[in-house]
Symmetry: C2
Subunit: 227 residues, 2 copies
């Protein structure tokens, strides 16, 4: 058994290069040769790792998706008990990739999303990542609701907050979906330059805050039409 190389790490390195280039020129604009150069390997090596270009792009999508999910999971387990509400806010901000540090990742993600509308294999991978993110968000929502919003909203008089009885009416999955979509939309608008990232963060914050403000919807007779 002769020469052996660590394909896994090489694949990751290549995926990294793909991201850098996709950030600059869009995923269609990514060239095998450029990837090879950027990853400091030869074109032949890239071809050995991925039989085809699409295979490479799919791997890169998974890579980015895993990174985002992982970062969020880390954030989630980092401060689990502190305040589920603010944790949710942070998580959403994280997903929105608004921190300029992750601007590149955001562009890559958006580019892949766009191409996924055309390429089914890419779309399949994206769905996996989205499902994971949505689940995480839904869990956060549930947790935040159950724990109660004791320390998150700074309304120290719980007089007109009848416990979490009302908040329980939130559908965590639904809210997670909404949050995810809002985050994605904000991200793209920031990238286009239609929004400043501060504006986007404000909007996201306002949306999350609204989740805890609302819970007196328990007033009956209204749910009928809303659902």
């Amino acid at each position: 058994m002769p020469k052996q190389v660590d394909y896994e790490s090489r694949r990751r390195r290549i995926a990294e290069a793909v991201c850098v280039l996709a950030d600059a020129h869009g995923p269609e604009g990514v060239t095998m040769r450029d990837v090879a150069t950027r990853a400091e390997v030869s074109l032949g090596a890239v071809q050995r790792c991925f039989r085809t270009k699409e295979e490479m792009l799919v791997f890169a999508v998974d890579h980015v998706g895993a990174r985002v999910t992982e970062r969020m999971r880390a954030r989630l387990s980092g401060a689990p008990e502190r305040s589920a509400a603010t944790a949710l806010e942070h998580a959403a901000t994280e997903i929105a990739l608004l921190r300029s540090a992750h601007r590149a990742e955001a562009r890559v993600w958006l580019a892949f999303v766009a191409q996924a509308a055309v390429s089914e294999p890419l779309a399949a991978r994206l769905r996996i990542s989205y499902a994971a993110l949505q689940d995480l968000l839904a869990r956060l929502v549930t947790e935040a609701v159950e724990v109660g919003d004791a320390d998150a909203p700074d309304a120290p008089d719980p007089s007109d907050e009848p416990g979490d009885g009302g908040a329980a009416r939130l559908d965590p999955q639904r809210e997670a979906r909404a949050l995810l979509a809002l985050a994605d939309g904000l991200t793209s608008h920031v990238l286009i330059g239609h929004l400043a990232s501060e504006e986007a963060e404000d909007i996201l914050r306002a949306h999350v805050v609204r989740l805890w403000e609302r819970p007196r919807t328990s007033r009956p007779g209204q749910a009928a039409r809303a659902e």
Copy 2:
């Protein structure tokens, strides 16, 4: 003055072809030759209309943006007095391009958004369209708030709805931005296949409804942190 051609209509016809193709293969995948074929003109004719490919794409973006804006404006003036709240909901749905009839337009839009993150001239055009849409939405929000939500929410007892005094605290521009972002995010998630269009519509509806449920935020002392 010899042979003269109506360039404007030809340009529109070409833009239409661009949309069809961009829907199928993404905007990068659009080829001058394919456009020419699809538009039933020769490659030379396309080249006479647009000096370069990017010029053509930019025109196509404007074309789509104008169409969406126009459709929304029509919807706006079609039933102006009926109910600002439901008008808002309809407008948002319209923007989200969720009706399957406009699925193609949605794909085109998303594709262009993605590429705009890389191409500044495209981004500039998109910003114009977004600004127009946001303004329209903001106007709708304002209108809905001022008119009062008398007939929109079917809570016929205005006992605990202290007029629109609280609703006035809504920042229409902010809400318009949020709505626009949410609509875009939902659109892309539907295109990816992560959401069904009914789910997306539900989420959008819930978001709009929430705008009218909330208005007792007038309780002071909270804006400090929230903003």
